[in-house]
Symmetry: C2
Subunit: 307 residues, 2 copies
């Protein structure tokens, strides 16, 4: 799968993905209101608004980008109605030719991790019939439980040609709470996790890079520089650009010399571009999709400038 992602990145010349993380307060009132009229003031109406919002953004942006990353929490907060729209969003994106990274950050042990892996990137066999419940191409996973929690995902990656991004150094301020702890051999915890990711990565190589990839926040450029050197065959999914404060300069070190090695995510910076001063003057609220498209183009240009 990681070689497919690289091919799409090269075709689009855009090492970025758009985070489809709708929140009620990011959706134009007109979209919400029209769905309240159809469904009433309930979770279904909000969920359908999420889909309408996503769909318009995908329709204007799909040919500019290789991938999207829906954050499942945004859908899960609406319960079943939200998860139906998560699934519908994944399918719609895939039909448009996009690769989909499900930002699920799951992690458990043994048969439980296998259940997550099957449900999200794998398949379930019911008496000979094969079903692919959420059918995303890649997912994010949490390493806190060690290899027991990761191995079932790797097995499914190998069976179904999928990929995972293991949380390594996350972009939030308190990622330091545990990830930056210094161990008694002088290593930092995230370096220990990095070395495990390298080891696990050998179990699912796909060309130069492994299907076992990593999440490395853009907000700590010195750390990404170190991790890039440490992990020669690990692709990075890089959150934190834009709304979380990191700029293009901070991203430089996430990439290899050949301009590969990383895919940078932006969520609010794209999907809610219409709320930013920069785009407000040019686009109305109803043109949120056009504002998103312009923001995508600006992001590609911005990142290209440091490659």
């Amino acid at each position: 799968m990681i070689s497919k992602l690289i091919k799409r990145i090269q075709e689009t010349n855009a090492p970025i993905c758009v985070g489809l993380d709708p929140m009620p307060d990011l959706i134009p009132a007109s979209v919400l209101n029209s769905n309240y009229e159809i469904y009433g003031k309930n979770l279904r109406a909000v969920a359908e608004s999420f889909f309408e919002f996503n769909k318009k953004i995908i329709d204007t942006c799909y040919d500019l980008i290789p991938a999207v990353k829906p954050q499942i929490a945004m859908y899960e907060q609406l319960g079943i109605d939200g998860l139906i729209v998560y699934e519908k969003t994944v399918r719609y994106c895939k039909d448009k030719g996009l690769l989909v990274i499900g930002d699920i950050k799951r992690g458990d042990i043994g048969s439980t991790s296998l259940a997550y892996a099957r449900g999200h990137i794998g398949s379930i066999n019911v008496e000979g019939e094969v079903f692919k419940p959420f059918d995303t191409d890649m997912v994010t996973v949490n390493p806190y439980l060690g290899i027991d929690g990761i191995k079932p995902f790797i097995d499914v990656c190998n069976e179904e040609d999928k990929a995972i991004f293991v949380l390594l150094k996350t972009s939030n301020p308190s990622s330091k709470d545990f990830q930056d702890k210094v161990l008694n051999d002088g290593k930092l915890l995230y370096e220990e996790v990095a070395d495990s990711i390298a080891e696990w990565g050998a179990l699912s190589m796909d060309g130069k890079y492994s299907n076992v990839a990593a999440v490395v926040g853009a907000t700590y450029p010195e750390i990404s520089k170190k991790l890039r050197k440490r992990l020669k065959t690990t692709y990075f999914l890089v959150p934190g650009y834009g709304a979380q404060g990191a700029g293009a300069e901070d991203l430089r070190y996430c990439f290899d010399e050949d301009g590969l090695g990383a895919i940078v995510n932006s969520s609010r910076g794209i999907i809610a571009a219409y709320k930013q001063e920069k785009y407000k003057s040019k686009f109305s609220e109803a043109e949120f999709d056009l504002a998103a498209k312009e923001a995508v183009k600006d992001m590609i240009k911005d990142i290209s400038s440091v490659l």
Copy 2:
């Protein structure tokens, strides 16, 4: 919420919870087949079989125990059909007077963690109408992202009188991969996490114990002994008893002198008791619920012997 849980534990005299973690191979063929006949050979049929299986076990066991712990991964592997049954199971258990611990192991940052918290233990306000999507009483959460990922859950605990169990030392063999790392000050990583849990716990006290509780595996008795001493106000959710190999003797140290401080989970050991030699001779496959009830009674007796 933690004081409610303690009250129920005292009323039932049973510091245990039953893990409602159905897997297709744990369900009697007769249950699956009757649902294949109704729904066809598909995910819906498996999900409905899960519900039928859960329901029978709850109906026979609900008055013996304080709480259940459905593992959401088992439902999520079936996609939307499975999650509908997860929600239905939660509601059914609550209607029977049981407290429900959603074993979701979620963890993300800021607004994303808040979305999970609202969806699982909180509520969503849609133009003045309040909805409670999954409506569990307690959930498990992952600490790898630090306080940013935990604080939104604590806020919701305080708003809605709920509780969380933070993964501390998990029961699986590879929990040692990162959790047991020795830091440069001599502390182990799980001790560092333990101290954070104690600190976070102060933000949501509920009687002697905090609504910020911890997951501590039964499979490492020496560690639980240390953690029990370190964490005076933290309730423990203890997996690993039974199928994962820990016996009653291993549990002794999870409890305080007053017999409180821990709730022990068993999943397969109860719900698939009918497959064990011990119960096979007494109960037929169709009597899986009666076998579960006997296994619950045996577990209560076993654990009481060390308190």
